[in-house]
Amino acid sequence: MDAAVGSTVLAIPAEMAVMRDSTALTDVRAHVEPDLVLLPGPDRRPQAVARARQVFEGPVIHPPLGGADGAVQHHAVGDASIVSVQRATALSKAASTVAEIHADAPNRPVILVCDDVGVSVDQTTLEASLDHADALADVVPAGRSRVTILTGRLPAEYDRCWVLDRADGTIRDVREPSAIRLDDDRSENEGSTTVSLRLRGVGSIDDYGDSGTVVTMRLGHDTPQEYAGDDATDGTGVADHWPIRSVDSIGSDAFGIRAVDGVGPKTAQALVDRDVRSRADLLETPISELTALPGIGASAADRMRQHARVIETGEPCRVTEEPLPGSGDADPPLCLDIETDGLSPSIIWQIGVYDPATDNYRAFVERRDPSDPGAVVETFVEWLVESQADRTLLTWNGWRFDYKHLGVFTERYAPAYRDSWGSLAKRDLYRWAVTDGNAVLPGRTNKLTAVAEALGYERAGTGLDGATTAAAYSRFVRTGEPLDWDRHERYCEDDCRALWSIYDALMDAPIAAQDCDRTPASQTGLGDFT
């Protein structure tokens, strides 16, 4: 599928460009290889542009600054056009630019960048509106229905399609990504009487703390083929497709020397003051020099170097004698993953279990009757209790999701198994490795896929993610139209096997020096899992 990938747009916080050492930016460059770099507003930071230009080769745009051509700039990136707009007042000028692009190439997707665009929420009247909706509706030329808009005013998770009346900008509908991709609401009139504005945030996500968010956007067709192979529609008749195929958000502290556990802003600055700017520099710095820094003891220094080494080599490392979860059992743990219909699930419709002992994968799936939200859980727990009671269960961050919801559903729908469920051995590899600090793992984030891929695991390439598969199941519940079940089961299986790959790598990983303490590592943020 990667063959489809054209170009890459990177958004980094202006704050990061100004404040962080250039090695952090080079690290981003190596990781993302962007064709264009965006420094989102709405704050105006001219120094950020200057710093970014020193590191990145392609165009660097910071909309609040404007450009040589004035308030509106146009850049071609791969198949798409990026139109940067300094302020909302320049949207009419942007409309002419877009019209010219359209006249030239009616099928060329347009991505507008304007940090004045946001969503105003009025809780008192229960209304949410799109700022500058009239002007935005006018940006879409006749004969075209879609424009993507990026704004630093909204967090990088934000993705909604605002369907506006072409004439007066009134809101006709606001669609979520699942509905946009599945295209099930596409009306016949789209394009003639309405315009579709896909608004996506490129600003920092709240839960990344002060560090800001680095957003990688891979361009390519975000069409039904890629995102909903289970869907019957084939995307024909879509002249101007949605040009952003995937978005990946990573906290800016996952780059440069800050990626090393225990190196916060203060330590990073203290290291820079000693000319230790990158992880490679850190590896070459003697422990004695590190411990001379304020607040760094011998074990912390040791741990910092270990982590730096793991990131640089991609080889995990165990730092305690603590045995791996379930490693005392006769058989290795069962790797578990669940699929729901949302973050506050009303049904657990798929439970996947991979048994490394036999290399068998077993899926419990509700394909027929979604009105019984407990059936899958009951069957699963029954199977566990009857045939697998001596096995340890293993998840990735299960205490926050899989075990949490399985516990709730058992309590609610299969109370007879409440005690049996309670007595099963349930372990979590994420907690063991990261929270409890028993191992140091590679990967930019602690997400299962990021860690597994850093360890060399090859994904099955289903093109799905948790949110997409959840949305697809909701649609099945609503319409009764079956999913491409095999694909969705492959996705769940893939996660179970990825979990095993991490466990497997840790079994082989060397155990580092005895003298490391067992202080739990600080997590890089709750945002790891949202």
Binding site: L126, A128, G201, G342, L343, S344, P345, V408, E411, A471
Partner: protein, 904 residues
């Protein structure tokens, strides 16, 4: 000596100096100048009891060893019928025993509840969730309940679980083993996020207790009402269908209030079967300061209460007189509780009590007698508070000066007497406080020392007000959409929202609107058909501010370089509050220290206010201009020829400048220092009264000679000023007395009197030719008050019929509080009170005094005000006098020259 010697004439001989401290005794023996005192006798009430075994099973009745009061029995009978119950009886009438015994019943029954499968469902026995308004009360009642179960010989585990509970294993153990968990609503709100950890506790829950439920009113009440609805969703999810017990101080509307809180029918039990001793109430209006010969009134440490108009505030302030009476009572051996309106006054009162003794050392010849006095408030450490509670209980303390922290049901034993420093604002609180004196059947004495304020003066001149049967209604309103929307996010995070919520949680249209709002904002995902999930930042529950409606809150930060020990650790501030009191340059007093605001940051991820400690000889007073725009009537009713409306609208406040006022003497040090703040729009609920043209014409004519030369421009001399002053005064008075009927804080209400109500209403868009302009005007709030006023004047000019005059009363909180709606419903009663307030005031001034029609928050510096004209307007409303048609012509005449005046 025992504590109760003073109580009656017959015991007089045992008192050390032979002076019986009855109500009359206090008046006669007090060494200071006499003020005006009224002694009111409140008769005793006999106990009504029922044998415990008539109501309870033997296993509970036998060990109980005493009868039940009638109300306890009634409540237990209703609970046995699976009804929800609200017990609203006097302080110390044994309300705790009602739910304590109901929990015991469930415990013994191992109650399977409505779910027959309970035994299969859970090995756990019956559980109960008991919610108190404060953490202090939680711990106190944990002890009470444990004592009860010890008496009953039951192994019921009662545990407190709140912010002070250790995290980790300790919490898990409580969740998994306690039979009764005691907490508060801030906790319930937070813990709902992790309901999976509570699954077995919730699944087995048979009873939810809401103690002191009358405290849940206004904004806080709304949050509690929605938190309860969220709790009920989760309980239902785990198969529980618990009953509810609410206990409340006496309020006017226990059924409506309880039902608004829990959204279920409630049986009210209000026939108080507990005995009460006779009580004497002394209503004490302090003497004139000059009569007292007291020039040394400690104004300097009382900056908060410096009056705008010193020469009229001529009585000694309650803050001086009450501590002296407090000391006088303890001198005579009466263990006394002094209630003060602030922590600072609690502290100061102890000092002033001592100074009172020094002042009249000729009378207090044994100054150390009854002089072990302490202060008590939430600012003291828990240990210290507990020691004071014990000191009261054991009698080792002679007196305590406390904030209302001791008003709620903490067990501190019985006092001999109470003194109230000022009227506490509500009859409900008044009775609750004086209930601290004379528990059981002993005689009790309670002294209310009146302050200058409107309510205080009303109460002391109308003693029957206190003893009338009706007390205030507690207002809790679930109509505020801002609060609702906040809880919709939380509910979706806890369990996905679906079709069943459109029936049980909120009505469909409203729920769909809120879901759509958050879906557009990116915080919710999905549809009600298949479930709506929360996808916003983690833990939306933490964004619920239990005391504010919505929107931004400002952190209070200490300026760079200031030692952290000076950090006042203030709660975050609502935006309105920042504009009003924490603009740049403002000097605020907090816990007895002065702070100056050095910076206000409105934008960015965390808006905040920067303060630094200062020591200056002035305080600041913000000048406020306010107007109402786009009032939209949702309902209206006629009162004679008057029309009363309720609806929504925008209140525009402009805190454009402030004055620096010298603490000493009250002169202005600097005036009209600009704040640089824009106008602040607030969407809220309001009610307004339209005065009929004939009444207006008659009164304009009657008061046409009245002038207010200080007023700017030509208006001060115009013929309308007298009448406008009447409307303005009536507006102040109706707001001032609203707390007599409703549990509202006057500061949560605002008003505006106007000669052109119509110009403040939403522009009609009937005329298509004008619709473009009208839309332009109504959709965006004007940036400045000047722009708003210009709009209003131009609308007034464009009106094609003579506009009506009258006044608005609005809820001072974004989205509204339901107060203006309650005022709409109770308008006649409030108008009656307002009339008697003005007529009964002895200030003898047309423009009134702070006790009647002046308001220290007035945006127009209390000008113009006309008390007589206000009485005439209110009389016309209440008597529904007929109006002669003859004057209508004159009306038309006047109209041409009528100015567009409005006063807040």
């Amino acid at each position: 000596m025992t504590r109760n010697e003073w109580t009656s004439e017959t015991d007089a001989s045992t008192d050390s100096d032979g002076i019986p401290i009855t109500g009359k005794g206090v008046v006669e023996t007090y060494p200071g100048a006499p003020g005006d005192a009224t002694v009111v006798e409140v008769p005793a009430r006999e106990a009504t009891t029922i044998p415990a075994r008539d109501v309870l099973q033997a296993a509970l009745a036998s060990p109980l060893d005493h009868d039940l009061y009638a109300h306890q029995a009634d409540a237990l009978v209703a609970l046995a019928r699976d009804e929800n119950v609200c017990v609203t009886t006097s302080t110390a009438s044994g309300k705790t025993l009602v739910y304590g015994l109901q929990i015991a019943r469930h415990y013994l029954a191992g109650d399977p509840g409505p779910y027959e499968s309970r035994e299969e469902h859970s090995q756990r026995g019956s559980t109960a969730l008991v919610v108190y308004p404060t953490k202090a009360l939680s711990r106190d009642q944990e002890r009470e309940l444990n004592d009860l179960y010890e008496t009953l010989g039951l192994d019921v585990t009662v545990r407190v679980y709140d912010g002070d509970t250790d995290h980790g294993e300790a919490r898990r153990e409580i969740r998994e083993t306690a039979d009764v968990i005691v907490t508060n609503f801030a906790g319930v709100n937070t813990y709902l996020h992790d309901h999976d950890r509570w699954a077995s506790f919730y699944g087995a829950c048979d009873l939810v207790v809401i103690d002191e439920s009358h405290t849940y009113t206004g904004v806080h009440g709304m949050h509690v009402a929605w938190t309860i609805r969220r709790l009920k969703r989760v309980l239902t999810y785990y198969g529980a269908d618990p009953g509810f017990v609410l206990t409340s101080a006496t309020i006017g509307n226990p059924a409506a209030h309880s039902e608004a809180l829990i959204d279920e029918p409630v049986t009210v039990v209000d026939e108080d079967g507990s005995p009460r001793g006779p009580r004497e109430l002394v209503l004490w209006n302090p003497p004139r300061a000059s009569a007292d010969g007291d020039q040394s009134v400690e104004r300097d440490d009382d900056i908060d209460s410096v009056d705008a108009d010193e020469e009229r505030a001529d009585r000694l302030p309650a803050s001086v007189e009450a501590p002296r009476l407090f000391s006088h009572l303890t001198y005579h051996g009466a263990q006394t509780l002094l209630f003060t309106p602030s922590r600072k006054l609690a502290e100061l009162s102890i000092e002033r009590a001592e100074r009172g003794r020094e002042r009249w050392s000729g009378y207090y010849t044994a100054p150390d007698r009854g002089s072990d006095l302490r202060s008590y408030h939430a600012g003291h450490a828990r240990n210290s508070r507990h020691a004071t509670e014990q000191g009261l209980k054991t009698g080792s303390l002679d007196g305590v000066a406390s904030t209302n922290a001791l008003e709620l049901g903490l067990n501190i034993g019985a006092m001999d007497a109470t003194v109230q420093l000022g009227y506490p604002g509500q009859r409900q609180a008044f009775w609750q406080q004086i209930g601290r004196a004379g528990r059981g059947t002993e005689r009790a004495l309670s002294v209310l020392v009146a302050d200058h304020r409107t309510l205080d003066q009303y109460v002391v001149s109308n003693p029957s007000y206190l003893t009338e049967s009706d007390v205030e209604d507690a207002v809790v309103d679930t109509e505020n959409d801002a609060v609702f929307a906040t809880h919709v996010r939380c509910a979706a995070d806890e369990l996905s929202l679906d079709e069943t919520d459109a029936e049980n949680f909120a009505d469909r249209e409203r729920l769909e609107s809120a879901v759509e709002l958050w879906r557009r904002a990116g915080d919710l995902s999905g549809r009600l058909e298949t479930g709506v999930s929360y996808t916003g930042p983690p833990r939306p529950q933490s964004s619920v501010s239990m005391y504010a409606t919505a929107g931004q809150e400002y952190e209070v930060r200490l300026a760079d370089g200031v030692d952290a020990q000076h950090d006042p650790e203030m709660e975050p501030l609502a935006r309105e509050r920042v504009f009003r009191d924490f603009h740049e340059g403002a000097v605020r007093l907090h816990e007895g220290r002065q702070y100056q605001v050095t910076d206000v940051v409105h934008d960015g991820p965390q808006p905040h206010v920067v303060i630094q400690p200062v020591d200056v000889d002035y305080y600041t007073r913000t000048n406020r201009e306010v107007t109402v725009i786009d009032a939209d009537s949702k309902r209206s009713r006629e009162i004679g020829d008057f029309v009363l409306h309720h609806g929504t609208g925008t209140v525009l406040s402009y805190y454009g400048s402030f004055d620096q006022v010298r603490i000493e003497g009250g002169q202005k040090r600097r005036q009209n220092v600009p704040t640089g703040l824009p106008a602040l729009p607030m969407e809220t609920q309001l009610c307004w009264l339209e005065v009929p043209p004939a009444v207006e014409a008659r009164l304009v004519d009657r008061y046409s000679d009245f002038t207010v030369p200080e007023l700017d421009g030509e208006f001060g001399e115009g013929v309308h000023v007298g009448y406008a002053g009447g409307l303005h005064a009536a507006e102040h008075a109706t707001i001032g007395v609203a707390p007599l009927e409703l549990m509202v804080d006057k500061r949560d209400l605002g008003g505006l009197a106007t000669l052109s109500l119509d110009a403040h209403q939403a522009a009609s868009t009937d005329d298509p030719a004008e619709s473009d302009d009208a839309v332009g005007e109504t959709t965006r709030a004007p940036e400045s008050i000047a722009a708003a006023e210009a709009t209003i004047r131009s609308r007034a000019d464009d009106l094609d019929r003579p506009p009506a005059s009258g006044w608005f009363i609005y809820d001072g909180v974004e989205g509204g509080l339901g107060f203006s709606r309650a005022i709409y419903d109770e308008f006649e009663a409030i108008a009656e009170r307002a009339r008697s307030l003005i007529a009964g005031c002895d200030c003898g001034r047309i423009d009134g005094c702070p006790a009647c029609i002046m308001d220290d928050q007035c945006g127009n510096d209390n000008r113009p005000l006309h008390g007589e004209a206000a009485i005439d307007v209110l009389d016309a409303l209440l008597d529904q006098e007929s109006t002669s048609a003859g004057s209508a012509d004159a009306v038309a005449d006047e109209r041409g020259r009528r100015p567009t005046l409005f006063y807040s």
